[in-house]
C-alpha cells in the first residue's frame, strides 16, 4: 500500500454518497427504536419462581436455559427452562400430571404430591397457597 492509512480512510469515505449516509442513519434509527420498543413489548412474565411446601427455593429468568433439581417431600423434581418455556421433566409423583402438562410460558405447573409449584410471573409473589386438599 503506497498511501498512509489516513489517506485510505479518506478515500473510502469520499466515494460514499449522501444517500449512503441517509440509508445508514435510517437503518440505525429503525434498529435502535426496535431495540428500545422491544424492551417494553416483552411480556412481563419473565421470572420463573419455584416453591416447595410454600417456601420459595428458586427465582430464575425465563430467558436463560437451565435445568434445576428440587428436593421435595417425596423425592426430586426436575424442572427445565428452555426457549422461554418451563416444564417439569421428572417427578416422583404417581400420577405425573405435572409432566403431562408439558411446556408453559405463563401460568403455573403444580405438583401436589411433591408440593412443588412452578410459576411464571412478573416477579411479584403470587401470595402462596391457601389450602391443599387431596
Amino acid at each position: 500500500m503506497h498511501r498512509k492509512d489516513r489517506g485510505l480512510i479518506k478515500e473510502l469515505l469520499k466515494q460514499t454518497t449522501p444517500y449512503d449516509w441517509l440509508l445508514l442513519f435510517f437503518l440505525i434509527i429503525v434498529s435502535l427504536s426496535g431495540l428500545i420498543s422491544m424492551k417494553k413489548f416483552l411480556p412481563s412474565g419473565s421470572l420463573v419462581t419455584i416453591e416447595v411446601e410454600g417456601r420459595e427455593v428458586y427465582k430464575l429468568s425465563l430467558f436463560q436455559d437451565r435445568t434445576v433439581e428440587i428436593k421435595g417431600p417425596i423425592g426430586t423434581t426436575v424442572v427445565e427452562i428452555k426457549g422461554q418455556r418451563v416444564r417439569i421433566v421428572e417427578s416422583p409423583c404417581p400420577n405425573k400430571i405435572c409432566i403431562k402438562q408439558g411446556w408453559i410460558s405463563r401460568g403455573a405447573i403444580v405438583c401436589l404430591p411433591n408440593r412443588v409449584v412452578v410459576t411464571v410471573g412478573s416477579g411479584e409473589t403470587t401470595g402462596g397457597i391457601d389450602a391443599i386438599t387431596r
Binding site: 485510505l8 444517500y19 440509508l23 431495540l35
Partner: protein
C-alpha cells in the same frame, strides 16, 4: 456463455467460497454472528459484471460451501440459500434501477438488511414458530448487520476502485 464469463465466475466463486470458509474459523461472541465476507465478492460481481454472474456466484458459494462444511440440505443451508438469493436480488435491483444513488457502502447495507430479514423470516417459518422470539432478536441482528454490512461495503468499494483501471484497460 462466453468463456471470459466462465473464468470470471469460477474465479470469483472461488474467492467467495474461500472467504466463506475462512470466516467460519473466526471466533465470534455469538455463534450465529457472521461477517458475510463472501458478500463482498457478490457485490463486486454485481457491480462489475451484472446480476446474472452475481447470482451464479452466490449459488455456487452456497451449494459448494455447504457441501464442504457438511450442512448441505440442512436447516443452515436453507437459511444460507434464502438469505443469499434475496440479498443478491436486492442489491442488483437497487444497483440497476438507481445506479448512482448508492456507493458499494450503501448497496452492502441493503444487502445485509435483506439477508437478515430473510433469515429471520426463514427462522420463524422453519424452526422457531414463536414470533416474539423473532421480534426480540430482530433489532439486535439488524444492528449487527449494519456494522458488518457497512464494513464489507467499504472493503468492496476499495477493491472496486483498485480494480477499475485494470478492467477498463482490458475491455
Amino acid at each position: 456463455m462466453q468463456s471470459q464469463d466462465r473464468v470470471r465466475i469460477a474465479l470469483l466463486a472461488g474467492y467467495a467460497i474461500g472467504l466463506h470458509m475462512l470466516e467460519r474459523l473466526i471466533p465470534t461472541p455469538i455463534p450465529w454472528l457472521r461477517f458475510g465476507l463472501a458478500n463482498i465478492i457478490t457485490l463486486i460481481a454485481i457491480m462489475l459484471y451484472g446480476f446474472r454472474i452475481g447470482m451464479m456466484i452466490t449459488l455456487i458459494r452456497v451449494f459448494l460451501g455447504s457441501l464442504f462444511v457438511g450442512t448441505f440440505l440442512g436447516p443452515a443451508f436453507a437459511m444460507s440459500l434464502g438469505g443469499g438469493i434475496v440479498s443478491t436480488c436486492a442489491m442488483a435491483v437497487v444497483y440497476r434501477t438507481l445506479p448512482l444513488l448508492f456507493s458499494p457502502f450503501g448497496l452492502s447495507l441493503i444487502g445485509a438488511f435483506f439477508h437478515n430479514v430473510t433469515q429471520l423470516a426463514l427462522a420463524y417459518l422453519l424452526f422457531v414458530r414463536r414470533i416474539e422470539v423473532i421480534l426480540y432478536l430482530s433489532p439486535i441482528i439488524l444492528f449487527l448487520g449494519i456494522i458488518t454490512g457497512g464494513i464489507n461495503g467499504l472493503i468492496c468499494g476499495f477493491i472496486i476502485k483498485r480494480l477499475e483501471p485494470e478492467i477498463t484497460h482490458i475491455s
